[in-house]
């Protein structure tokens, strides 16, 4: 089936199998491999992207369901060499180690601050419940998000 959507500001139109997941479409057809796949059960959040400005798990959404939407992935955040404040905060606060959860974590964190611009530490921890990280123990991820909120 034919689908069209705007991804990181670029209009896209492609043929997909109905069962194609949004994350597969983004990675395999568009070649945007920043978005990762970490599980099969919508548990880990590594595949988090924004659809119409809100965080979603792109492994639990068909590409067909995203037809007609505007999608933002990790590759769409920076303006040239200027990182998004959340990306910058992760760098300054050592909010990443192996980097695999990072794109999803950053996208989830941006969405979190959109909805709650002045979160407490507790708000951040609960707000990131759907994003798993095995390296950082979350300590510096939480610090990164709190630092980004202060900007």
């Amino acid at each position: 089936m034919k689908i069209q959507m705007t991804v990181n500001g670029v209009p896209r139109e492609n043929d997909v199998e109905p069962r194609t997941l949004l994350v597969q479409y983004i990675r395999e057809q568009l070649g945007l491999t920043g978005t990762n796949i970490g599980c099969d059960t919508s548990s880990c959040g590594a595949c988090t992207v924004h659809v119409n400005g809100e965080s979603v798990k792109s492994c639990t959404m068909l590409a067909a369901q995203a037809d007609g939407t505007s999608v933002t992935t990790i590759e769409g955040l920076a303006k040239g060499d200027q990182m998004h404040p959340m990306q910058e905060a992760f760098m300054q606060n050592h909010g990443l180690q192996c980097g695999y959860c990072t794109p999803g974590m950053v996208m989830a964190a941006i969405s979190l601050l959109e909805e709650n611009p002045n979160p407490t530490e507790e708000d951040v921890r609960i707000g990131l419940e759907g994003n798993l990280c095995r390296c950082t123990g979350y300590h510096n991820i939480v610090q990164s998000v709190l630092a980004a909120a202060k900007k």
Partner: protein, 274 residues
């Protein structure tokens, strides 16, 4: 992992959705937010031949005040239920319970109707709407009918919804200032409840819904009867498991679930009584 192959159809209206499901019968499933169905399809625990995407039926996404109740379109997302000023004012228990469904990403996609139609005893909103005495409106080939939440749930993932019917609206009575509490007991924030309790109380009137305490969400009627009869919260809570039949699994034995239900119902009623 990805789902087994299927055909994808998109419905523009409830009538079209019902006509499509009539056409494909048992082979087909409605797809709303997809957050119950797609994970099962990826694990190949469900393999429908046809998916009928109903998420674009935008006129089924609303939250409206309507006399003594609030009417919620079945395709209203958890995120919108959670943040609705109307619900926060009139049915705060439901808005709060919606904030505990899954995680933020899930709530951006998952819908209240999808959650109720899926009829998972471990989900938060079936038991919450049951406690609130909600009525579900369903539409089929022969028009619409209303089903009381207490008559809706039949067994694990089974409801009174006929294969060719679609849930279109959830009508939740206004709480009129009742005290309330939502107790979700789980190991991790993102998990389904091991046991959950949704409760409200206004004087001697009350409603208590239990999550994951049997094949269906359970209305703890014995508790409410006891409250109506003037029993203390502690005495009423001791009856929490009168109607339940919990199972044992990885997270909890049936015995432990029963213990939790009693503790959580007591706490919920204490909180609702203040």
């Amino acid at each position: 992992m990805i789902p087994a192959p299927f055909d994808y159809k998109r419905a523009g209206s409830a009538a079209e959705a019902i006509s499509l499901i009539g056409q494909y019968g048992d082979e087909a499933k409605f797809l709303a937010g997809g957050h119950s169905l797609l994970p099962m399809m990826k694990l190949r625990l469900a393999q429908p031949a046809v998916l009928i995407d109903i998420a674009r039926i935008t006129d089924l996404s609303y939250i409206r005040e309507s006399g003594d109740h609030i009417a919620i379109g079945a395709l209203t997302r958890h995120h919108d239920v959670e943040n609705s000023p109307v619900l926060k004012q009139h049915v705060p228990l439901l808005a709060h319970a919606a904030s505990h469904v899954g995680d933020p990403q899930v709530r951006h996609r998952g819908t209240i109707g999808g959650s109720i139609a899926h009829a998972d005893t471990a989900s938060d909103l079936p038991a919450t709407t049951l406690a609130l005495g909600a009525t579900y409106v369903v539409q089929g080939p022969n028009g619409t009918r209303e089903i009381a939440a207490k008559d809706f749930y039949k067994s694990y993932f089974e409801s009174d919804l006929a294969p060719d019917e679609m849930l279109t609206e959830i009508r939740v009575p206004k709480m009129n200032g009742a005290g309330w509490s939502f107790q979700k007991f789980n190991r991790r924030a993102q998990d389904w409840a091991i046991v959950g309790v949704a409760a409200w109380r206004r004087g001697n009137e009350s409603g208590v819904g239990l999550v994951n305490m049997g094949p269906t969400p359970i209305l703890a009627s014995a508790v409410s009867s006891a409250i109506a009869g003037g029993a203390s919260v502690a005495d009423a809570a001791a009856l929490a498991t009168a109607e339940s039949s919990p199972s044992s699994d990885l997270n909890a034995s049936a015995e432990y679930r029963e213990h939790l239900a009693k503790v959580l119902v007591r706490r919920a009623l204490e909180q609702s009584s203040n």
